[in-house]
């Protein structure tokens, strides 16, 4: 039933349905291929591989739950998973809390500067993630910017190793790298609060803080939750930042997955770890969804 392209562009009006079918097919094809093949099928492969034993071949051999049993029973993976959750949770918290006042300013106080400020906070978003992380490496290094600046200014006399290769370094770096992600959703949520609500609150005698706590904050929660999600997801699976500034004490679950597909060369086990991460993210998404519904989603 597929109509060739050339007939669709023909001047002669075609029966609506024929032209329509060809057009629809052509328009759905690229997106359909990418979504079903590159996303769904590829993710399906990960789940499939996670259920296989490692025999060195691409798709493994035999069906087994051994990979998942190892993930669930080995305390190492619990430690690393909990650490990843803790790091990603702290990063999310830090990012959202520091971004909220910026979004608030943008929505209610920025005036003519709003366009410029929005532009300034969005721009770093499009710069290289690797370079943003690398910048922190040179800041925190033993012979780095922070140490040398502290010594130069006479605050400290000796450089310290305490900055680099710590979980704190990972948190600071990730929070900084993902900071721009959090501002926009919160800003949009704040900006779409009907001004009449705020006027009503102040007309009814609410002090500014009360109207913030009772009107603005609950109404901006969908944005806060969206921001939390977009920061949490990439940070929980990150392996670049732990590798560059984290040291061995901050190995995250992403680092383990990467190792299974690299040096350790146990793809089925790496796939099982990946499935575990996806389940964790799914749980977080469901929690956020239900919280979002409680606050009355507007997005």
């Amino acid at each position: 039933m597929a109509t060739p392209m050339s007939t669709i562009v023909a001047r002669q009006p075609l029966p609506e349905s024929r032209s329509s079918t060809g057009f629809r097919l052509a328009m759905l094809l690229p997106g359909g291929l990418v979504t079903f093949f590159l996303i769904l099928f590829a993710l399906g492969l990960v789940v499939f591989l996670a259920l296989r034993g490692n025999d060195g071949s691409l798709l493994g051999a035999g069906f087994t739950f051994a990979n998942f049993i190892t993930v669930a029973s080995d305390p190492l993976y619990w430690t690393v998973t909990l650490r990843s959750l803790a790091i990603a949770g702290l990063v999310t918290l830090a990012t959202v809390v520091t971004a909220y006042p910026v979004a608030y300013y943008l929505a209610f106080h920025a005036g003519r500067r709003r366009g410029l400020l929005l532009f300034l906070v969005t721009l770093p978003f499009w710069t290289s993630y690797l370079l943003r992380v690398f910048a922190w490496k040179i800041v925190l290094a033993y012979n780095g910017v922070l140490n040398s600046a502290l010594i130069e200014s006479g605050i400290w006399s000796e450089p310290t190793l305490a900055f680099l290769n710590t979980p704190a370094a990972v948190i600071v770096t990730l929070a900084h790298a993902y900071a721009p992600f959090a501002i926009l959703p919160i800003y949009v949520a704040l900006d779409t609060i009907p001004k009449s609500l705020l006027e009503a609150a102040s007309d009814l005698g609410a002090r500014p803080f009360t109207s913030f706590r009772r009107v603005v904050l609950p109404n901006s929660m969908p944005g806060v939750l969206a921001a939390a999600l977009v920061v949490f997801v990439p940070t929980v699976g990150d392996y670049v930042t732990p590798a560059l500034v984290g040291g061995p004490a901050s190995t995250m679950i992403g680092s383990l997955i990467q190792a299974q597909f690299g040096k350790a060369n146990d793809w089925p086990f790496g796939a099982a770890l990946a499935v575990a991460v996806m389940l964790v993210i799914l749980a977080v998404v469901l929690v956020v969804r239900s919280a979002d519904r409680r606050f009355g989603s507007r997005t």
């Binding site: 759905l28 590159l38 993630y129 800041v139 600046a149 900071a179 949009v188 929980v236 699976g237």
Partner: protein, 292 residues
Amino acid sequence: MSAARIDAKQSGRWLGAYVLVYVIFLYLPVSLIPLFSFNDSIQAAFPLQGFTFEWYATLSGNSALSGALANSLVIGAIAATGATLCGITVSYMDLFGRSPLAATISAIARLPILIPGVIVGISLLILVNLIGFGPSRTAIVLGHILVALPTTVVIMKSRFAAIPKTIHEAALDLGASDWTTFRRVMLPLSLPAIVSAFMLAFLTSFDEFIVAFFLAGTEPTLPLYIWSQLRFPKSLPTVMALGTAILAVSFVIAAIAEILRHRGLAAAQRPVPANLSKPEETERGELQWHST
């Protein structure tokens, strides 16, 4: 009432100061890369040692570097073309296709935001090995189409939604086929957004490291080249010179793309009453649903 005003003004000033500090902090670490790229020392440390172009000179005549640059440019151009094409068709069918399949595709196309890069990387690594061509530039192109897809879909969807529905209906009523309406009416009206989506998709690919790391064969992209150099303390200044160049290019492309996007949206919304201003809001709300 006036007391509240003064209160608001004062808190606005405090907030303004906070925002200033925040923006400075946002740019400070990255701005150290250009600063030290001109510093005449192999270490990135204070005090600054003197001004030099030496590190930039080491960039030219480096064949591994120019090879990586060429790879990044080719991969970025092809991936951005693919992602933009998908973004246009997916969002158009989502808005005008009136079919559950189109809506499903559009929803799945935005799914990569909820998948960490490491998992996108390994899933495609398994896939390309299964197909047979394995890690290669083609594999990276596929990965980058996925990574850039949410951005292009969101940008194009907000753009198509901002075009008054009446224009689309008028074209169909006047006898234009679906295809003619799409090509002669809707595409020209959304040209700035298309250019913007392409540029941002290109940047996404050009800067992308996490997914490319898994999918690269023997031909690295620029970020992979930088990663390989990070192990050698001696090449640190060269990396900073290269990083400065990349940052400069990224800033220029991103600035043009953002200006185009906002111009396009503003122009589309001018004649439209307030109730149609919603698309831009969703677009702004969802645009950060994209991971680098």
